[in-house]
Every structure is written in structure tokens, then in C-alpha cells.
């Protein structure tokens, strides 16, 4: 399993390089050529700049779109008084881990939560462990530990307020939240 994850990590890392680097290199020669005073060169440079800017904008938009898509499925769930990430959430974890590996400048806050069955302080501690374990799973999936901050809201920010299992199961979760770029 670890080898597979390492392989995923490497592939994604390379893909990340391939998609980012060429844009920077394309921009560099154009700025050197600008030393010659030539209106056509200046026009060409302006066009190239515009194209580069458009490409960078498109790339940024693509990353933003991908982040938005990931943000829409950013919760992992836990059984009562359990802090281990469950097999059912492996795909969610891997999607986020791969994205983080591909975009090393992106950072997230993982916020752990708990249902109300416990004291506020015990649940704060439990939520923190859920966040820590979610972070570990993301790191195993290829993310860098430095990209991930963990916090806990314990039972203080329930998604659902009723005293029943349907509600509690939604409140026992960790959310992976992307920080603004």
C-alpha cells in the first residue's frame, strides 16, 4: 500500500512539474527580446505577454475549479468515539492528497468535529485527534505535512442539531478546508 501511495505521489509530483514549468520558460525569452527597440518586437511581446497572462489565468482558473470541486466533497466521517479514518473515505482522502501533492503551494486546515455525546472538552480533544488522523492519511496519500494545519471545533459547530444518530453521524467528521491562495 505504501509503495502504491509513493508511486501516486511521484506521478502526481511529475505531472505537477510538467504543467507548471513550461509557462515560466515561455515567458522568459520574450522579456529578454524586449531589450531590442523594435515596435514589431514590442507588439509581439505584448501579444506573448497577453497570451502568457491568459494561459496563467486559465491555469489558475483550472486550479481554482479543481479546488472548488474538491471543496464540495471535503468531509470524512467517523463512528462514535472513534478517531481512525474509515475505509469508506479512502477515495476522498486520496483525491485531496493527490491535489495537495500536485500543488505544493496550496495549504489546507483540517477541522475535526464530534457529536454531543461527551463533555465539550473531551469532544474538543476527540475532534483534534480526528483532524490529526485525517492529516496523517493525507500525508500517506502524498501531501506534505507542512501543507496541513489541524484544528478542532469539538461539539461546538454541529452541522445538525437534533439528538439522534442521523444527526450525530453528520457531526462526527473532519473537514478539509482549502485556504485562500
Amino acid at each position: 500500500m505504501k509503495k502504491l501511495i509513493l508511486a501516486i505521489f511521484l506521478v502526481n509530483f511529475l505531472v505537477g512539474c510538467a504543467s507548471n514549468k513550461p509557462k515560466e520558460e515561455a515567458a522568459a525569452p520574450v522579456s529578454n527580446a524586449a531589450a531590442a527597440v523594435d515596435t514589431s518586437a514590442a507588439d509581439a511581446q505584448a501579444a506573448a505577454d497577453a497570451q502568457a497572462a491568459a494561459e496563467a489565468q486559465t491555469a489558475r482558473q483550472a486550479v481554482a475549479d479543481e479546488m472548488a470541486a474538491l471543496q464540495s466533497k471535503n468531509s470524512v466521517y467517523f463512528p462514535f468515539d472513534v478517531d481512525a479514518v474509515q475505509a469508506a473515505d479512502r477515495d476522498t482522502i486520496l483525491l485531496h492528497a493527490q491535489f495537495l501533492a500536485a500543488h505544493p503551494s496550496v495549504t489546507v486546515r483540517v477541522a475535526g468535529n464530534a457529536d454531543e455525546r461527551g463533555s465539550s472538552e473531551y469532544n474538543l480533544a476527540l475532534g483534534q485527534r480526528r483532524a490529526e488522523n485525517t492529516k496523517r492519511a493525507l500525508v500517506l496519500g502524498g501531501a506534505d505535512a507542512m501543507q496541513i494545519e489541524t484544528i478542532s471545533f469539538g461539539e461546538e459547530k454541529p452541522r445538525c442539531n437534533d439528538h439522534n444518530e442521523a444527526c450525530w453521524s453528520q457531526n462526527r467528521r473532519a473537514d478539509i478546508n482549502y485556504n485562500a491562495q
Binding site: E121, Y122, A125, Q128, R129
Partner: protein, 418 residues
């Protein structure tokens, strides 16, 4: 067994805007002392207001049966004819005098009509706006003379009021009057804890998007960050001598216990390991910490000696145990017991492992003793709203205190006024 229902609507005296909590009492003490409160001499409106507060204070304990004086109005011991008072044992009587500069001097006596003897005579003086404080002081003295334990009617409580996504940290009189907001925030506030001198509150606020520990002065509203380490900073509690606090940090991994000086210096880690250790509470001698830990599987209460850091398990309940607080006499502790889906308030002596459940069960959390050890304050729920409740430490008398707005959570009873 006599079960009495007394509903005291504390809207009688102050402006309605100041009456933040309504109180409902159930149960009665094993022995109730018959007591007549005779309207004091002096300004009749002031006298009536004063006696209503004294009466509701004493009635809330469940230890007194208030006997209507039926129009008899002795204002001094020399005016009492014991033969007229067959239905009662004790009279509270007195007079109110307005002295210079808006001061009220309230002279009162406690008189035993069975033995025809004066039990106490005192004068309490304060400015007129502090009439409730005078009444609480008189109730404290009467309670102490008749039960042998100091009264707690002049003490204060702290809690968090959550109303439509707004959180308020509130200090109030023990009967819910005189609410004072220390902090209003859009983010959660939990775990307020009193300093032993009653002047400061330590608490956890999420206002910076994660749990950090603050210490705030009640009178000046000045506050400072005590702990802002990475991860969660929480569960502050003062040592009995007020020189340091115990708290919980996750900066080194899992939730572990730490000690820190009241100035934030000299951080010392107390527990280690991957388990959850939280909710420290000092024993009365300051030499040990009780705490909640899941090191044995389910959350239970443990005791740690600060001298050698040895740990002893104290609760062995099926289910789980949370939020220990030590009794003022140092002999036992109270905690919240979660069993078959229900929270109860329970007490246990340090001597034996026998747990005594005091309440009927519900969402009963965060118990703390009154400073005389006779009552326990906790958070519970009624009709889906978070409310305050108390239970006598023998389990016989219960009160519910209902706020006019929002949910009340995370209470703690304050110390005797210094």
C-alpha cells in the same frame, strides 16, 4: 416523602429586563425548619422587596418551610409573644433605616419561638441600589445560623449563553440576577473557570478560528492570551492558591495536561502519550489533579499526583465519566456520567469507589460545587433548550433556572466573595 413544587417567578422586584433567569424548584430537604419572615419595619416597599429576595434564597435550598406570619408584625425581639407563633419555630424580623447619603441600615434578628431565645442580631449596611446584595447577605447569615454551613446566596456563577449564533460569556448572581457580559463573540466560547479570588475568569475562545485560552478580569474587562500554541489550547483551571493554572494543549500531539504560571511562564508538561487527557481539576490541597482520560478504553476519571506523577483510576462505571470537580471539603468529587445514552450528575468519595447518582438523567453536563459544598450547578436541557440546574449534594432538592433567551452552557459556580 413530601414532594413540593414551588414556582418562584423572580420578576417581582427588579425591572423585568434584569431578571434573566426564572427558577423552578422540586423536592425538599429531609428536615425542613419552619421559618416565618416578618416584614421589616421602615419603608414598606423596600421591606417587601428585601424579604422577597431573602425568602426566595432560603426557599431554593429546600431546607426551610416558610410560614406566613399572618399579619403579625413585630419589628424587634421585645415585641414577640412566642405563644402566638405555634406553627413556626423561627422568626426573622427587623427594621430598615435610611441613613445619610442613600445608605440603608438593615437591623435584623433571628428568634427561636420554641426556646424563647434570640439566635442572632446583626446590622447590614449598604447603598440603596445594593438592596439585593443586602438581602443575599442576610439570607447567608440566617442559613449559616440555622444549618451550620455558610450560605452561598452572595456568590456568583459564570456561564456561556448561546443565542442564534452569538456566544456571550456571562457572570451573574447565583440566583441569575445582575447578568454581566464579559465577552460577546460569533465564535464558540467554552470552559470558563473562576480564579480562587473571584476576580478573573479563564476561558477558551475560538474567536481566532481555533481554541485558545484567555484570562479576563471581571471588573476591568482587561484580558490577555494565556495559551496560543499550535492545535487546541483548552480546559483551563486555577490552582487553589491562584499561582498557576492547569490546562490542556495538543501542541506535542494528543491532548495532554500541562501546568503554567498565572503569568503564562514556566510551562510544564504533566502527561504524555497518545491517549486523550483533559479536564484537569485540582484537589483541595493543590497536590493532585483529577482529569478525564480514555487511556483505559472509555473516558473515565483519574487522579494524578503532581509530586511523582503517578496515576490512579477513580471511576469504573460502565459507560463513561467526564468533567470531574473536587468537593470544597476535599473528600470527594462530582462528575458527569454517560450511561446508556443518558448523562447523569454523580458524586463519589475518594475513600470508596461507590458512585451515587444524584439526578434523573438528561443532557446533564459540567457540574461544579457551590463553595459551601451543599449544592451542585450543572448544564442540562428543557424543551430543547440549554438551561442551568442545581441539585443539593444529597440529591434531594433540585432547581431549574431557565434563561429568557438562548441556550445556557458550560456553567461554573464561583468562590465565596473576598
Amino acid at each position: 416523602m413530601i414532594v413540593r413544587w414551588i414556582v418562584l417567578c423572580l420578576l417581582l422586584f427588579a425591572a423585568p429586563a434584569r431578571a434573566e433567569l426564572n427558577i423552578e424548584i422540586t423536592g425538599a430537604g429531609e428536615h425542613q425548619t419552619p421559618l416565618s419572615l416578618v416584614r421589616f419595619g421602615g419603608d414598606p416597599l423596600i421591606a417587601q422587596s428585601l424579604l422577597e429576595v431573602v425568602g426566595s434564597d432560603l426557599a431554593r435550598t429546600g431546607l426551610f418551610r416558610l410560614v406566613d406570619p399572618a399579619g403579625r408584625l413585630p419589628h424587634s425581639v421585645s415585641e414577640v409573644r412566642p405563644a402566638e407563633w405555634a406553627g413556626t419555630e423561627t422568626l426573622l424580623l427587623g427594621s430598615i433605616e435610611e441613613v445619610d447619603g442613600g445608605q440603608l441600615a438593615v437591623r435584623f434578628s433571628l428568634f427561636d419561638v420554641v426556646r424563647n431565645a434570640e439566635l442572632m442580631a446583626q446590622v447590614v449596611t449598604a447603598k440603596r441600589p445594593h438592596l439585593r446584595a443586602i438581602a443575599h447577605r442576610i439570607a447567608d447569615l440566617v442559613y449559616e445560623r440555622l444549618t451550620g454551613s455558610p450560605g452561598v446566596f452572595s456568590t456568583r456563577i459564570v456561564y456561556v449563553n448561546r443565542d442564534q449564533g452569538s456566544f456571550r460569556l456571562v457572570v451573574a448572581d447565583s440566583d441569575g440576577y445582575g447578568e454581566q457580559s464579559l465577552l460577546t463573540s460569533k465564535e464558540p466560547i467554552i470552559s470558563p473557570a473562576w480564579s480562587p479570588d473571584g476576580r478573573q475568569i479563564a476561558y477558551v475562545s475560538f474567536e481566532r478560528q481555533r481554541a485558545m485560552v484567555y484570562v479576563q478580569s471581571i471588573d476591568s474587562a482587561q484580558r490577555r492570551l494565556l495559551a496560543e500554541f499550535p492545535g487546541s489550547n483548552s480546559a483551563p483551571v486555577w490552582s487553589p492558591d491562584g499561582t498557576r493554572l492547569a490546562l490542556v494543549l495538543t501542541r506535542d500531539g494528543s491532548s495532554n495536561l500541562y501546568l503554567v504560571g498565572r503569568d503564562g511562564q514556566g510551562l510544564r508538561r504533566i502527561t504524555r502519550g497518545y491517549q486523550i487527557d483533559t479536564e484537569p481539576a485540582f484537589t483541595a490541597d493543590g497536590q493532585n489533579l483529577l482529569f478525564t482520560s480514555d487511556r483505559g478504553g472509555s473516558p473515565q476519571i483519574y487522579r494524578l499526583s503532581l509530586a511523582d506523577e503517578t496515576v490512579t483510576r477513580l471511576t469504573f462505571e460502565s459507560g463513561s465519566a467526564f468533567s470531574p470537580r473536587v468537593a470544597p471539603d476535599g473528600k470527594g468529587f462530582v462528575f458527569s456520567l454517560f450511561k446508556e445514552g443518558v448523562f447523569y450528575i454523580a458524586v463519589q468519595d475518594f475513600g470508596g469507589a461507590q458512585t451515587q447518582i444524584l439526578t434523573g438523567g438528561g443532557w446533564e453536563k459540567k457540574p461544579s460545587f457551590a463553595p459551601n459544598g451543599k449544592m451542585i450547578l450543572f448544564a442540562t436541557e428543557m424543551s430543547g433548550r440549554g438551561i442551568l440546574a442545581t441539585v443539593s449534594s444529597d440529591g434531594r432538592v433540585k432547581q431549574k433556572m431557565v434563561a429568557q433567551r438562548g441556550d445556557i452552557r458550560e456553567p461554573m459556580w464561583g468562590p465565596f466573595p473576598k
